[in-house]
């Protein structure tokens, strides 16, 4: 049997020691312990009686003292202050031993301390607990709500309770005032407007325990301050003053504030959005900042939501108002103290209206595209932020967007909005929803495009003629222009999605995957380019276009063979068996400047390093060191300073020996193989496209710069033309398509000229539609997808993809 006693003789001895009884016999301790325990139990029993008759469930020190007094024992002094409960400290080493920390308090401190504030007087507050058996949902009554209040609200309510100085009393006092619920109650509370606002939202009383919410006595009561603020917000944001627009030109750069509020590159769109409300007066800026920062906005939320709805409904013709609405929503969303969740259902429709309305602004000439883009950004942002708790939100939105896109009866601006929205929702959404639908949609879109084809649209998009409708004015012109916009949006969406995917793959350092992909792209592209080059040569006046494609393809067998043969023949391969295949390049064309530079380098004492490099490479071209040196040389040539010349010169000399950078070598090999295949195919008289099916053996080796749109021919050329090609690429990357075409022309059939011809001939065994339908899969072959997209969009698509200079760096 375990000892039922809590007080052991050991405790007695310890207590005796603590009161300076140093000698206590074991027997005495043994005799005392049970007695002490019995007395303690008696005292506790009596104290519990006192607590029970005080209708309390907690034992207080007062109860203990009452019990002691009942037994004529002197009470324990110093523990009566219930406001400062005794702090029990656990003794280290003993799990069940606690003691009260009894600090030494200087008397001076007590005597000099100011008198404590008198406690608030006890008083009585009546209210209805229930009426005819039904509990009214007043704030004095705790409502039973199984849903716990949002944490922030709870915290705010707690803060409000703490702020309400007199604690429970004040809270109940306030609770008494039914109509004053939303009003400010204490002057001290105004400072903490955060607490005030949220507390009013929470019913203005401390939420006692989780799971209980206090219902509002009336629907909603807004304090005067908040009403004024609401008026101010509405007035300022509702009417963008014309003066603003006039003065706006020099404020254009001041998007600094909105850099955070509205993450749209307003500066870039500034030209298009001429005075469309993107410019803000300082007042508007201040108001928006308030909306973004003020923690009390939650209270205004219902009104602001309604404001948003009204503005969109009433301001469909006024783009500035709509822009302002978007900014307001964005600001609300950025406000950390505002929970938009309850109002999402009423916020989304106006936003989707901004995104997909049939017509916005005054006529088709105004730039409603920027608004749609902005709306898409906001919608995407909402989806991203609330997608977690409301997982169906994004699904619903994207479904709606897709439905709008696929509905042929909807006008093109709506389609544009849908595409923009889908694009904003992220690459995954695009790949999943948009790409599979691309092929049929583009087919439908084609008739509307200017020039009657995709290439024309591509040219239009590339030409930057987005600011105004195409020259062909009138209804048809507008439609063409709109179709161009849609095409551009699609291109943008698909391109960025694929770009994202490719970059992700590259960043994941999965070069094999990429290489495989690139290999197929190359496989699919190279013959076409060859064929196209031939076609272009055959019919130079024909503008490249989809409609002519069959003809071109048909013409290909005839003309391709000699052209391909010519191409293959042009760079004679250097048959130097000493040079490993990795670095084998054709000898560059003779270039006097390079020779001169080389001479200078050789004579320059400072350039000994270069000579060392040269010697190292020539000594063992296939070694690892040489490879890296070659690659760095290749990169050196891209620099714009004097060293580029040196690098080029070295490369030139190396090239004369048949040694080149590995990348160039790969391109060379690939082109050789492809040309051979094409030649073979042409020789057999088969369609060019079928040539793909005989896998080029060299292509299997993979190409580091496989994504290059640069035709192999340029890579095979001298470093000088390499520069030109690189420059062309850079240009293309910026979207300067026309100049890019010029550069390409200068480079001799490179660039857009060649790529533009990569038309819609069947690129692979699988149809474009099938490839795209599976493009969402993680293991989808990117090469095929890119190829299919290129087929659909034309060469302009390739400009959206990572440029060659980027990929090698990443893959290395």
């Amino acid at each position: 049997m375990s000892n039922p006693n809590f007080i052991t003789p050991g405790s007695i001895r310890a207590i005796a020691l603590s009161v300076d009884v140093t000698y206590l016999t074991e027997e005495a301790a043994k005799a005392l312990a049970p007695d002490v325990e019995y007395r303690l139990r008696e005292v506790i029993q009596d104290a519990l009686k006192f607590a029970r008759h005080s209708k309390r469930t907690k034992l207080t020190t007062q109860d203990i003292n009452d019990a002691l007094r009942l037994r004529n024992i002197e009470p324990l002094y110093g523990f009566l202050n219930n406001n400062d409960p005794a702090k029990f400290v656990r003794a280290t080493g003993a799990p069940d031993l606690y003691f009260v920390r009894d600090d030494t308090v200087p008397l001076e401190q007590i005597t000099c301390a100011p008198l404590p504030k008198a406690p608030a007087a006890t008083t009585v507050m009546p209210h209805w607990l229930f009426i005819n058996g039904v509990q009214p949902q007043t704030e004095e009554n705790a409502a039973v709500d199984p849903r716990p209040a949002p944490k922030r609200q709870r915290l705010a309510a707690g803060a409000a309770a703490a702020g309400a100085g007199a604690g429970a009393g004040a809270a109940a006092v306030a609770g008494q005032a039914d109509a004053v619920a939303g009003q400010k109650r204490k002057p001290g509370q105004d400072g903490a407007d955060a607490a005030g606002g949220a507390a009013a939202a929470a019913g203005g009383a401390p939420v006692g325990q989780p799971g209980e919410r206090v219902a509002m006595p009336v629907a909603h009561i807004l304090s005067d301050e908040m009403q004024r603020l609401l008026q101010q917000i509405k007035a300022t944001l509702g009417n963008p003053s014309p003066a603003t627009l006039d003065a706006g030109s020099d404020e254009r750069g001041e998007g600094g504030l909105w850099g955070c509020v509205l993450e749209l590159d307003a500066a870039e769109r500034g030209a298009g959005a001429n005075g469309s409300g993107l410019l803000l007066t300082p007042m508007q800026r201040a108001v928006l900042t308030t909306v973004q920062r003020d923690p009390g906005m939650q209270q205004l939320l219902p009104y602001l939501t309604k404001h948003v709805g009204d503005e969109v409904a009433g301001g469909l013709r006024q783009l500035p108002r709509l822009h302002m609405v978007l900014r307001l929503v964005q600001a609300l969303m950025l406000n950390p103290a505002v929970s938009l969740e309850p109002y999402l259902h009423s916020l989304m429709p106006p936003l989707l209206t901004c995104l997909m309305a049939k017509s916005l602004g005054n006529g088709p000439t105004c730039d409603h595209w920027a608004l749609r883009d902005a709306a898409a950004a906001v919608v995407a942002r909402i989806c991203g932020r609330f997608g977690e708790p409301y997982y169906s939100l994004q699904v619903k939105v994207s479904k709606q967007l897709l439905r709008a896109l696929l509905d042929g009866s909807k006008p093109l601006p709506t389609h544009y909005g849908a595409v923009a929205g889908l694009a904003a929702l992220g690459p995954a959404t695009v790949r999943l929803l948009l790409l599979p639908q691309l092929e049929p949609y583009l087919t439908k879109l084609q008739p509307s495009l200017p020039g009657g084809g995709l290439a024309g649209a591509a040219a239009a998009v590339a030409g930057g003629s987005v600011g105004a409708p195409a020259p062909g004015a009138g209804k048809e012109g507008v439609r063409q222009f709109e179709a161009t916009r849609v095409y551009g949006a699609l291109l943008q969406a698909a391109g960025s999605a694929m770009y994202d995917k490719l970059m992700a793959v590259a960043a994941d350092s999965l070069p094999q995957h990429l290489f495989r992909t690139a290999g197929r792209v190359r496989r699919s592209l190279a013959p076409k380019q060859e064929a196209e080059a031939a076609a272009a040569a055959a019919t130079p006046t024909t503008s490249p276009g989809v409609k002519q494609e069959p003809a071109a393809a048909g013409a290909a067998p005839g003309v391709a063979a000699p052209a391909a043969a010519a191409v293959v023949a042009a760079p004679p391969p250097v048959a130097n068996p000493a040079i490993p295949e990795v670095v084998a390049v054709p000898a560059p064309a003779p270039d006097p400047t390079m020779e001169a530079t080389w001479q200078r380098l050789q004579s320059d004492p400072k350039a000994t390093q270069c000579m060392q490099v040269f010697q190292v490479i020539t000594a063992n071209p296939g070694s690892k060191q040489s490879l890296s040196l070659l690659e760095s040389l290749q990169q050196l040539t891209n620099r714009a300073d004097g060293r580029a010349n040196s690098g080029q010169a070295i490369l030139y000399q190396l090239g004369k020996l048949g040694i080149g950078p590995p990348s160039a070598a790969k391109q060379y090999r690939a082109s050789v193989a492809a040309a051979a295949a094409a030649a073979a195919a042409a020789a057999k008289g088969q369609p060019v496209a079928n040539g793909l099916q005989s896998p080029p053996p060299a292509g299997a080796g993979g190409a580091g710069s496989g994504m290059s749109v640069t035709p192999p021919g340029s890579a095979l050329r001298t470093p000088g033309s390499n520069i030109a090609a690189a420059g062309g690429q850079a240009h293309l990357g910026k979207g300067g398509r026309s100049s890019g075409a010029a550069a390409a022309a200068a480079a001799g059939g490179s660039g857009a000229g060649a790529a533009g011809g990569a038309g819609s001939s069947e690129p692979a065994s699988r149809s474009v539609r099938a490839v795209l339908a599976e493009s969402w899969r993680e293991d989808a072959d990117l090469g095929e997808v890119v190829g299919a997209l290129t087929t659909l969009f034309g060469p302009a698509f390739l400009t959206r993809l990572p440029q060659p200079p980027q990929l090698p760096i990443m893959t290395l």
Partner: protein, 791 residues
Amino acid sequence: MRDSDWDQLFLQYIRKRGLRDVEERFVQHVRQPPPPGDKEEAAAVAAGVEMASVLIDDLVCFAAGHEAAVYGDAYEALVNWVDSCLDMYRPELRRLLHPVFVRLYLTLVDMEAGREAAALLARYRARVLATLGGMRRAAANDLSQLAALTSRSLLRGSAFAAARLGLGPGGPAAAKTAVSLSPYAHDLLMRWLHTGGGRMLPLLSVVNSCLDLQVLEGLPKGAPAAPVPDDDLADELAGGGPGGAGGPGADEAGADAGADAAEANMVNRTEIKLGLLQGNVEDVYREQQEKQKAEAAAAAAAAAAAGEADPAAADGQEPQTKKAKKAAEKAAAAAAAAAATNKSVVRGERIEHPPFLPKLPDDVVAAALRDISLRAPVSAATPPSCAFFTFVNAKQTLNCSTFNCDGSKIVAGFNDSSVRVYDMPTISQHHALLRRSRRGQVPGGGGGTNPDGTPAPAPPSADDLEESEPPGTLYLHGHTAAVHAVDFSVDQRLVLSGSSDGTVRVWGAEFGSCLAVYPGHVFPVWDVAACPLGHWFASAGADRVARLWVSERTQPLRLLVGHNADVDVVRWHPNCCLVATAAGQADRTVRLWDVREGKCVRYLPCGRTLPGSPTCLALSPDGSQIAAGSDEGAVAVWDLGTARRVAASQPAAAHTGAVWCLAYSQGDGCVLASGGADETVRLWRNDTGEALAAAGVAAAGGGSGADGEGGAEGGEGAAEGAAGSKEGSGKDGKGDAKGDGKGDGKGAKPAGPYAQLGRYRTKSSPVVSLAFSSRNLLLAAGPFHRRGPIT
């Protein structure tokens, strides 16, 4: 030890035994101890003698083991010790008493000490009946068997005694009664038996021979294997629960079993008159109503007869007149029949107004009659409304509170030994002012103008108002310790308070001064209750006694003794001739006492039906039932006439904390309200009351329309202090509709008596007191306290 020492020992033994003759003889032969040679030897001798004297004491006791008186004394000591033991362990230890008594009695008889045995038996029986109000049938059986055994010869022949003494077939082991004890109780018992020294030897031997002490780990309550005798008793007395089909039969069987068994239940077989007093207010009101109705009916009948007679007379046709006469007769007969049924509705017998009770003052009667006429009908179908009065800033110091009959005044007792009277109209005004000043501050500094253009007096700022002492509070200082009970006298002019300083004080609510002090209790006073007729009051306290007082004497008129533990609650029966008390902890009983004789007339053990200690009582307005709530959240109802349990709350529906207060609705008592520490008010339907009410309504006919109208008014009138009255009345209509629907739904569902009607949570206030106002508005009060650490 030397021979001389032995001589000394023997001499002392003889002295102790008081054998003077032997001593005289012996002294002559005693060898004188040698003179102490040196100090050491002397010290050794002294030590030896010291030790020997202890030995002698034990020897004496051992020798006296054969003396009857020692046994009786030992038993008394045991009983006293058990009674003064810790409450927690007392029920366990009390279980020892019966086996020990049986064994002692048999031992005494075996010693041929018949006189002592009879005395022991008589004392035991008296004690059992006084403190327990009855005994188990087995115990009663034992007693009757024992009473028959008066001599050793009878003892030898009795199988009963043989079994008890361990002489039976089972041997000594079979004679042992298994008693389970918690470790600490066992420890206490052993220590007490051992510290008693030699005097305890006989008791120790008895305990060892007749008890098989089993020590079970855990707290005393966690020993389900060994039911407390009270429980058995409770079950027996309760007659198998509310079903009660076998109850009367079982009782009959018990009566047949023997006179002792009958005697055991004697307390609950006492004839008591539970009827209301003649001429109580309800009856007076009903009579008035009947009179009015009869007059109205007669007038109507007369008018009808006249109306029919007139055209008949005009026509001059005889048959018509006859028909009219017949109609008039029929109407008169119907009126008479209605009156007769109404008379039968006055249910239960009425008892004569006892002479010692005062008559109600006329103004009180008039007010009561007015209130009754305005009373809202309350039943399961029409649930009551509840005004909750939250004590703010009480900081855990509020102990008790009560309302006057219309809820306009609240009196509360505090831990700081003050009694405070709150005047609700004044306080509400203050709050309204506060609210106005706050609202006025918000728009623009407050300086508004009245509608007539005159500048309004600048209202005091909210801060000032909040800082200042709120008006309408009357402090009554005088007690020197926490006040645990307060009550209003029937005319609302006196306030009674009981405090843990052991006094009851009477205060004039109007003057705010103490009028009288009644210092009868030695220990804290836990409860006071004023007689519904005035003049008398009752108090109960920690000295295990309830006292009856008249206000003009400072000494109690009656002591109601019998509870084994602190008397926690005392309540008056509606007829003022009975008082109900409840005691918790070691006692756990509810008892009813006759005021005139001061003796217990009903003994209702809580047993398993009401787990925990009773904390509150409520008597139904018709006086037939009593409800008790316990500190474990249970509510149980007994029928007082049969002492049978009517209902007990299901654990699922019970409070989750202690029940602090109970109240029956006025009039028929159709609804029982309970409030507790779990911060809820719960309503329970009283089906018996409802059935009576339904009968009453059916018989009374159209009289209820006026009642209903008046009810709403009454509700408002009573709560005119409540700030939310506007809102309340605004929601009345909706509430009505909902309430009806709910009530119907509940009514359709078959449920036991006292099914729960509703559960209403306060925000953060335990419900400390509940009362139905005289117009049937439920008034509840409790201190607001935030959860978390005590502040």
